[in-house]
């Protein structure tokens, strides 16, 4: 290989490197305000949320009575997992329905768990008494479960079958018809 060709190749490599560096630099600058958000998203990595037909996201919580619970504790019977808050209007509107579901849970062989988000123990204790709520409740400290279930805000209800698979979910207020239909799907799923 001739010296001039080698020099030309080396020169081109240097230019290509400089060009790539500058391209990177320019792209960072021209990306504008969204660049930092994009970086954060990239750092955060993928966070698969719940989906119908997919295994429900595992959780670790403590009920208001201090009992440790997780998704596994509910395996074997369908679970109605309701995210709510004592300060939330639509949650309070749908709470009689959740309470009715809980009242019929033995007959239907399913269970109900309320997960309170952005709430306090004292507020929950009192709300439970005031609204005569009969189902177990847990406080989602630091919003860990809410975030893993990818909920923008309460209320949200997940209908999980006996094998821990999400069979339906309602992000927003629940109606009786919708709840019964979703529950039927969770109950109809194979037990084993």
């Amino acid at each position: 290989m001739k010296i001039t060709t080698i020099v030309a190749n080396i020169g081109s490599s240097v230019y290509v490197s400089v060009f790539a560096l500058l391209l990177l630099c320019a792209s960072m600058n021209l990306a504008g305000p969204q660049a930092s958000a994009a970086q954060l998203l990239e750092q955060a990595g993928p966070r698969p949320g719940p989906a119908i037909g997919r295994a429900a996201v595992e959780f670790q919580l403590q009920t208001l009575e201090g009992k440790s619970i997780n998704l596994e504790s509910y395996r074997g019977r369908p679970l109605v997992l309701n995210f709510f808050a004592s300060w939330c209007d639509p949650c309070r509107d749908e709470m009689p329905l959740i309470n009715d579901l809980a009242a019929n849970s033995d007959k239907g062989n399913y269970r109900v768990l309320g997960v309170a988000v952005e709430d306090s123990r004292a507020a929950l204790d009192e709300y439970k008494k005031e609204a005569h709520l009969i189902f177990p409740m847990a406080l989602d400290l630091n919003n860990t479960v809410k975030r893993s279930y990818r909920i923008f805000g309460p209320p949200a209800t997940f209908f999980i079958d006996a094998q821990g698979v999400v069979r339906d979910m309602v992000l927003g207020p629940l109606t009786k018809e919708r709840a019964l239909d979703a529950l039927r799907k969770a109950e109809a799923a194979p037990k084993n």
């Binding site: 001039t4 020099v7 030309a8 020169g11 081109s12 230019y15 290509v16 400089v18 060009f19 500058l22 391209l23 630099c25 320019a26 960072m28 600058n29 021209l30 504008g32 305000p33 969204q34 930092s36 958000a37 994009a38 954060l40 998203l41 750092q43 955060a44 990595g45 966070r47 949320g49 004592s86 300060w87 939330c88 209007d89 639509p90 949650c91 309070r92 952005e118 306090s120 123990r121 004292a122 507020a123 204790d125 009192e126 709300y127 008494k129 005031e130 406080l139 400290l141 630091n142 919003n143 860990t144 975030r147 990818r150 909920i151 923008f152 805000g153 309460p154 209320p155 927003g172 207020p173």
Partner: protein
Amino acid sequence: MKSFLFRKQRIWIYLAGVLLAACSSDLAPRGESGGRAEPVRFGTEISLGKTQANPAAPFLRAAPDGRLFAVWTEDAAHQQSAGLDHASHNGSGKMAPSPLRDLLIASSTDAGITWSSAKRINRSDEAIQAEENGPKIAFSADNRAYAVWSIPGEKGDKTRANIRFAVDDRNGWFSVAHTLNEVKDAARFPIIEFSPDGNLLIAWIDRRIDNPKPRQLYLMKIAADGQAITKNYPAGEGLCECCKLGMAFADGGKTVYLVDRQVNEKQIRNHVLRKSTDGGASFGAPVEISDDGWQVGSCPHSGPSLGRDSRGWLHVSWFTLGRSENEAGIYYSVSKDGGKSFSPRKLVQANTAPEVLYNNLTVGADNTVYLAWTNLDPENRAQIFFRTIGADGRWSEIQQLSRAKGDANRPTLTLSKNRLHVAWTETDGEASRAVLRSAALSQ
């Protein structure tokens, strides 16, 4: 061959030159023409209130004399001394199902470095509401303080609450609070501002007419001595039931601007601006700020923020999910024609994960817009983020202000003596604290 090599070199050099020019605004010091606005350099964190009393829901406001004031809530003092973890009203169904909290106020004469001892504003046991529904203060031109806050309704329902009001009695204390909403158990999310016309204007979301939903916007005008000038009066309807409001004045108080989140019959929740030209007595038809198209059956508990600059431009920031999760984030828009129209929305920061984000803005004397909001960090914790929009329209880089172990939420901002102050609540498990960071501004 040689001439080809040089031609090739020239092409590369030319391309490098073009790219160097594209880079230059990034390499140049911030604030130079064409680049981003200078980042704001904040001091270290200062905690407001007694840590063991779980301070939360701070709100900041500077008095006209330059003193910086903060209000926040804490676990009720008498319950702390009794050694109870969570003081609350009893469960008789006649009392509030919330922990009792005190509303405290303190001031700083050195722009937030040191603080006076905190004074309690409320005199009776109250379950003062916080978060989106937190306490607010305003100041008259002669530095008199006025406070509003919300407490749950008589049957304990937080969503059927009452608005309490107290005035600084000029002897170092506050008057005995009274309830502003004439129909009990119907009002939440109060804001209070001292109008240039010398009176207070208080606005809130009201559910006295609870059906058909959604809620109404109610106002009340109060004189500087704390006496009511008007009764409660409706100023709008169709409000999203649980998001804070924003207010600004112009023309010596004759013009009043209000922003709120509206909800239509299809459950689409967009933000609107309402304008009054008679001091808040009546308002024109709401002007949509942005057609975000967020259709959601529940309330996000995250309202907009409004500021007006010396040119009369109206700056608004808000959170929306938009028409898909990919659109979710904090947005900004400006009206340069007194609220007749708004610029297309600009993304302040996208959501990093499904989460309702909270935002606030304030506007400096030099027309710089200061924005603070929450977003999730890579560890999935909510943190406070910040950026500015210069008077020339240049945006600063995003800065992260908090390093919360748990979550940091609901930032509030104010300006005093060429300093910017941002405060927020940090929660970790069942504990909370109120945090303040301040920055000197180059004017």
